[in-house]
């Protein structure tokens, strides 16, 4: 892979408790990482993951809170059930399981997400591009599916 691995980052807006980390994610993300902030991991529909894969992402990282630390009490529990199953299901039909990474963060964690993203990017680059699961045909800039 010549270009850097493309990562879709789905982030729960409460999981980075330290303002410095959140600031880094909001403003200083490298260009190959596409950030989607959601109110809670429970809001992340499995379709978002599929959409990211079909849109050409090499890997997906989902960062959320640990159990009992969810801002909405149980959002992360519901998310884990669905998203983990969706990942298993994608693996069953031939998509590499390692390309979807969950990052459950403790409220005390500082500076974890940067390290994890860098490690994940390295792993993805070692794995190379995938030809499993078709990507959608890109429309012109500003088109409906672009």
């Amino acid at each position: 892979m010549t270009a850097k691995a493309k990562i879709a980052l789905f982030q729960c807006r409460w999981c980075l408790f330290s303002p410095a980390d959140q600031e880094w994610v909001d403003t200083q993300l490298p260009e190959n990482i596409h950030l989607t902030k959601s109110p809670c991991t429970g809001r992340i529909n499995p379709l978002y993951l599929l959409n990211a894969i079909q849109g050409g992402a090499d890997g997906i990282m989902i960062s959320g809170c640990l159990p009992e630390q969810c801002h909405f009490k149980t959002g992360n529990l519901a998310a884990r059930r669905q998203l983990e199953e969706f990942n298993d299901f994608l693996h069953y039909i031939g998509y590499e399981k390692e390309r979807v990474r969950f990052l459950w963060l403790d409220l005390q964690d500082r500076g974890i997400i940067q390290k994890e993203l860098a490690a994940f990017e390295k792993e993805l680059e070692a794995m190379g591009a995938t030809h499993h699961l078709a990507t959608r045909i890109m429309r012109a800039e500003g088109g409906e599916n672009a």
């Binding site: 499995p46 379709l47 599929l50 959409n51 079909q54 640990l66 159990p67 009992e68 149980t74 992360n76 529990l77 519901a78 884990r80 059930r81 669905q82 983990e84 199953e85 969706f86 298993d88 299901f89 994608l90 069953y92 039909i93 031939g94 998509y95 590499e96 399981k97 390692e98 979807v100 990474r101 969950f102 990052l103 459950w104 963060l105 403790d106 964690d109 974890i112 994890e116 499993h132 699961l133 078709a134 990507t135 959608r136 045909i137 409906e144 599916n145």
Partner: protein, 320 residues
């Protein structure tokens, strides 16, 4: 085989006594291979009622399509009974508005196999417990009934109705879990390339007619995710990504809600294999959450419930 006269008598009785407004069952179709779903609203029509191994629809499908205020009587086999239960859990119908006439099921015959082996010109199909006799202009052929069964019926776990108001016919033996688990494991043990190649080959034949969706009792959304185009949930055109997306998400929406009746596969005009997807999800629900869809009318599917017992399954500090 259920006694058809007993079924008709019971259907007539519930209509006459006003217990239900409509009885959903089957009547003969254009060809002996294709009995069609029928709605009986008065006693005279019930004479047409039939029930045999070629009745391939899942009648629970009509529960959400009939007017909500109607009291419905329905002929249910094991899988249909479970689908009805799962719809009650999802508040699509009140149990009090239903009268379920249970029919122990010996499996649905795959009509495609009959056509393959005996040709298209079929005048009569007769069944016994072990044999299927097919009459064609060329002669009479007999086949082993079990071998003609649809794949998901060969592995059926619950053949008897679970919560029917009345069961007509003798109970039959239930299936065992082993062949189901074995099938999922066999597929899982294949190489990742082989798995993807199989999925790709099946998905790319899709003509996007959505017959699988229409045949499925669990697919009752007023607007399906593929029909919703502003904003678009996912690629929904007739492209490789669109086909794969449809197959992935259609199956995934059934997780914890599928009863493995196989109606989707039987409805597919392109003969695409689909039950291997939903069976994996059902298998996972059994393994991870000890949940079997439709076994009662109260337990919610795993994705609708959350429990802190799950917390040990989070991996602390990241990683998979």
């Amino acid at each position: 085989m259920p006694d058809i006269n007993a079924l008709r008598l019971e259907a007539k009785r519930v209509l006459r006594e006003g217990i239900v407004d409509v009885v959903v069952g089957f009547k003969p179709g254009d060809s002996p291979l294709h009995p069609q779903p029928a709605f009986f609203r008065n006693e005279d029509e019930v004479e047409e009622l039939i029930h045999n191994g070629l009745c391939k629809n899942n009648l629970a499908n009509y529960l959400t399509r009939l007017p909500k205020q109607e009291k419905v009587g329905m002929l249910v086999r094991g899988c249909e009974n479970r689908s009805v239960n799962s719809l009650i859990v999802e508040s699509q119908k009140e149990r009090d508005d239903l009268y379920l006439i249970g029919v122990p099921c010996e499996g649905i015959i795959d009509w495609r196999q009959i056509v393959e082996q005996a040709g298209e010109h079929i005048s009569l199909v007769e069944e016994s417990e072990t044999l299927v006799t097919v009459h064609t202009p060329a002669g009479v052929n007999s086949f082993n009934r079990f071998e003609l069964l649809h794949e998901s019926c060969q592995r059926c776990l619950y053949r008897n109705p679970i919560s029917a108001d009345i069961v007509i016919g003798d109970p039959v033996a239930n299936g065992s879990l082993d062949p189901v688990a074995q099938k999922v494991k066999d597929f899982e043990n294949q190489d990742i390339e082989a798995r993807y190649a199989f999925f790709q080959k099946e998905a790319e034949r899709c003509i996007r007619c959505y017959a699988c969706r229409e045949a499925c009792p669990s697919c009752y959304c007023a607007e399906c995710f593929v029909d919703h185009n502003a904003p678009r949930w996912t690629e929904s055109g007739a492209t490789p990504a669109g086909m794969q997306g449809w197959h992935i998400v259609r199956a995934f929406h059934q997780s914890g809600r599928c009863t493995s009746c196989g109606a989707c596969e039987r409805a597919c005009p392109m003969d695409i294999k689909m039950t291997y997807l939903t069976e994996k999800l059902n298998h996972d629900m059994r393994e991870k959450y000890n949940f079997e869809c439709g076994m009662d009318a109260e337990t919610k599917p795993p994705f609708q419930t959350v429990t802190l017992d799950d917390k040990n399954r989070f991996f602390l500090g990241g990683g998979n």
